[in-house]
Amino acid sequence: MFTFDPYSPAVDADPFPFYKTLRDEHPCFWSQQAGMWILSRYADIVSAGQNWQTYSSAKGNLMTELPNRAGATLGTTDPPRHDRLRGLIQHAFMKRNLESLSEPIRDIARTAAEALRGSDRFDFIDDFSSKFTVRVLFAALGLPLGDEQTVRDKAVLMVQSDAHTRAKGPEHIAAYNWMQDYAAKVIAERRTRPQNDLISHFSMAEIDGDRLNEREVLLTTTTLIMAGIESLGGFMSMLALNLADRAEARQAVVNSPELLPDAIEESLRFNTSAQRFRRCLQKDITLHGQTMREGDFVCLAYGSGNRDERQFPNPDVYDIKRRPRGHLGFGGGVHACLGTAIARLAVRIAFDEFHKIVPNYRRTQEHLAWMPSSTFRSPMLLELTVH
């Protein structure tokens, strides 16, 4: 009998064969292990994402939700509250407002890449992407330097889940609590000495004359730090993996860096790190002959929708010429990723600089150690050799 367990190491390692069975044979599947329905076809995921009235985020959006987060962040509220909250933050992340970050990001990328000069073997994650992402986030949010490595370690830990208990373990909760304390310190500091930066504005913002409540300020800031480090870093390691495994695609983007955006879009489609998010049903709904009940949780398997042959021809082929449109690499609809523009900008610059120092590389390990997470998918270590 077919099962789909998003906590299983086999799914962490390679969810795609499971997704194919889900799409073809069980497009609306009750996963006993996850305790939720799984939607796996592109069209169903897009429809659910559009219908926030039925598929609510207010009970949490992570597959294994962190305590107290539901209802207090962008990803865990519904309109109209969500839209107002987003309105306070969004302008800082719009493409037109990111120009000033372009040069600082390039400097960070150059420094991180330069440190690799001369090495013939390194861990892409530890030695490059994590150094890069944490510094970019610190620059974007105006965070004080000094705690970068700890912040990065905690961000990576808090998104994980325990394969045995199918829940957050004590170490994940401890990391989450650490991050909240860290965010609280930054917020307090900005309120005492406001600067012209996102956290200063946000921590003193009002919606319709009401100040945001403390839980919203704290958990939204915590989530921004988590997403900025873990999601950006996770995606960078997937792009590096795709290019390490495909000499032709790598050669193309090394020779013509203007093709990097095409490789980024195809990687967002092909195996983006944000694989699955969840919603909670606000009413009974019948889909593909299954009746899902009000109060049931539903997983939107973006990573599966991106491999749906009903939408993308030859979906299992990685092709940088594909230029996939409407992919779900950043989700979609009202909850589409806030950081699309800064992520695209930062990743493009990072690989542009990385390739200047390391144009030819392949991975050393056939089998990778994958992060245990029901929501995200990326390797824990990606050792590359230079050739």
Partner: protein
């Protein structure tokens, strides 16, 4: 399904069946219509799904939100009285046969 007629920048008319409740942007990108980018994924944050709505039916649409009006201010192509962001318009039966023209550029 709702039939929407997209006029691509080349002048080519594309008649597309859009799933009800999908946005006109999603209907276009999922069917490879030219002239729409939708860079932000539909969250009204980029202005790259700018379109011109058939003038005689413009009034049938729910009015734009303050956020959409703000984003329309920064679109790359000429802003006209019938400009909208297609990610903010849901395909409903009332819009059957609507003609949506895509601009020369989305920036």
């Amino acid at each position: 399904m709702v039939h929407i007629i997209y006029v691509e920048p080349s002048g080519n008319r594309r008649r597309v069946d859009v799933t009800e409740e999908w946005s006109l942007m999603q209907g276009a990108t999922a069917n490879d219509v030219d002239g729409i980018v939708g860079e932000c994924g539909g969250s009204c944050a980029c202005g790259t799904c700018h379109c011109y709505i058939e003038e005689s039916r413009f009034g049938e649409l729910p009015p734009p939100s303050a956020a959409e009006i703000d984003m329309l201010d920064g679109v790359a192509a000429e802003l006209r009285p019938n400009s909208r962001l297609s990610c903010q318009i849901k395909a409903t039966a009332a819009l059957e046969g609507l003609v949506v023209t895509l601009p020369e550029t989305q920036g």
